[in-house]
């Protein structure tokens, strides 16, 4: 199965990179989120920018299949869920992917995160009909939309701007912000705890 081989290859690379950039280390997450050390923020912004430029440039050159895009629906629950995730991310230092990688790298507190996560996901499965009935999951602003209209994509654009050009421009903007963002904006210049 080609898809299973690709899952092993891309998934393995993703896990290794998350480990190497410090994303699965709660010290780096905590020091990023309390704005004391933005090194990891620079890494993340550069990654989004790099991915965006490569994907949209690849689409324009006909090398990347536009059909591989997968845009999620916008609804009020995206924002509310984001708030919840942000709170739990700050408290624990883990998000779903990095918590799993942290546990695999030997961090035992991440096992408790995974146990809590499985219970939280189960709680959502149980409460999904009630959440749905609030209307919080109803699409807003067009639902599955991109900021510009991407040629050949099945998604509408929020604006009529060419989505691929806009994607490259935003990607470059992410890269510029990654470069300009200072590593430290508050606190003294003491090193982050080594592992």
């Amino acid at each position: 199965m080609v898809s299973i081989l690709l899952a092993l290859l891309i998934g393995g690379a993703f896990g290794a990179v998350l480990d190497r950039i410090g994303a699965s280390n709660p010290n780096y997450i905590g020091n990023m989120l309390n704005l004391k050390n933005l090194h990891l923020m620079k890494t993340i912004l550069l990654a989004i920018g790099t991915g965006s430029v490569l994907m949209f440039a690849g689409q324009m050159l006909g090398l990347v299949d536009v059909g591989h895009m997968s845009v999620k629906t916008a609804y009020v629950g995206v924002f509310v869920g984001g708030l919840l995730l942000g709170f739990g991310w700050a408290l624990s230092g883990y998000c779903p992917g990095t918590g799993l990688v942290a546990a695999a790298s030997g961090r035992r507190d991440a096992l408790a995160f995974i146990a809590g996560g499985l219970l939280g996901a189960a709680a959502y499965m149980a409460t999904y009909p009630a959440v749905e009935s609030t209307g919080m999951l109803d699409a807003i602003a067009g639902g599955k939309v991109t900021l510009g209209a991407v040629p050949g994509a099945k998604y509408e654009g929020v604006t009529a701007l060419p989505g691929d050009v806009l994607g490259i421009a935003l990607g470059l903007a992410f890269i510029v912000v990654a470069i300009l963002l200072p590593e430290r904006i508050t606190g003294e210049a003491d090193p982050v705890a080594a592992e």
Binding site: S24, G81, G86, R108, D109, A121
Partner: protein, 184 residues
């Protein structure tokens, strides 16, 4: 020490690009639901059922939504997204071993927690357990997490990715500033 942001950022960006080039954008949090479904279905095989036309559905409304997409993944765990997450853990494990592993002190709890809240593993484990519950409930409510919404979503210029990132940082930054006065 971690990779310099220039190398780390380019490598991470390449992984997200390769995923969308070869298969589809990266996402993780759905697989917590799939594992829950697998465990639940193992305890009670009536949870996921196959209809006469071969499609899957479930007694659970969430597993049954989108034409039984999640119910199908529960019955067939050897699918791309589930194997991806297992491979991610293997990759993380091998990478950590290759750099000498995580120190014993850090395995118990991260230095930033110890610096702010002392060395009680009980309180740290309670915090990560509660954190995990809130993170996954929030991720499923949002329909994605840091990987699927923030990274993959913003990379594709998805409006939903920006909405998610705004919510996540709006909550995460004040929480971290309140909790972690000491850098650790």
């Amino acid at each position: 020490m971690v990779l310099n942001w220039k190398l780390g950022g380019v490598l991470l960006g390449l992984v997200f690009f390769l995923a969308v080039l070869l298969v589809k954008p990266i996402g993780v949090s759905t697989q917590f639901v799939i594992l829950d479904g697998i465990l639940w279905n193992a305890a009670d095989p009536s949870v996921v059922v196959q209809t006469e036309d071969g499609a899957y559905t479930s007694t659970n409304a969430y597993l049954a939504k989108s034409s039984g997409k999640y119910a199908k993944s529960v019955s067939e765990p050897m699918n791309y997204s589930f194997v991806f997450v297992i491979a991610m853990m293997i990759g993380g494990f091998l990478s950590a071993m290759a750099r000498g592993g995580v120190s014993r002190e850090e395995q118990k709890m991260p230095a930033i927690w110890r610096a702010n809240f002392g060395g009680s593993t009980g309180s740290r484990f309670l915090a990560t357990f509660v954190g995990g519950f809130i993170v996954l409930y929030g991720a499923r409510l949002a329909g994605g997490c840091t990987s699927g919404h923030m990274m993959s979503g913003m990379m594709q210029t998805a409006l939903s990715g920006y909405i998610f990132a705004a919510g996540a940082f709006l909550a995460a930054v004040p929480t971290a500033m309140f909790l972690f006065r000491e850098e650790g």
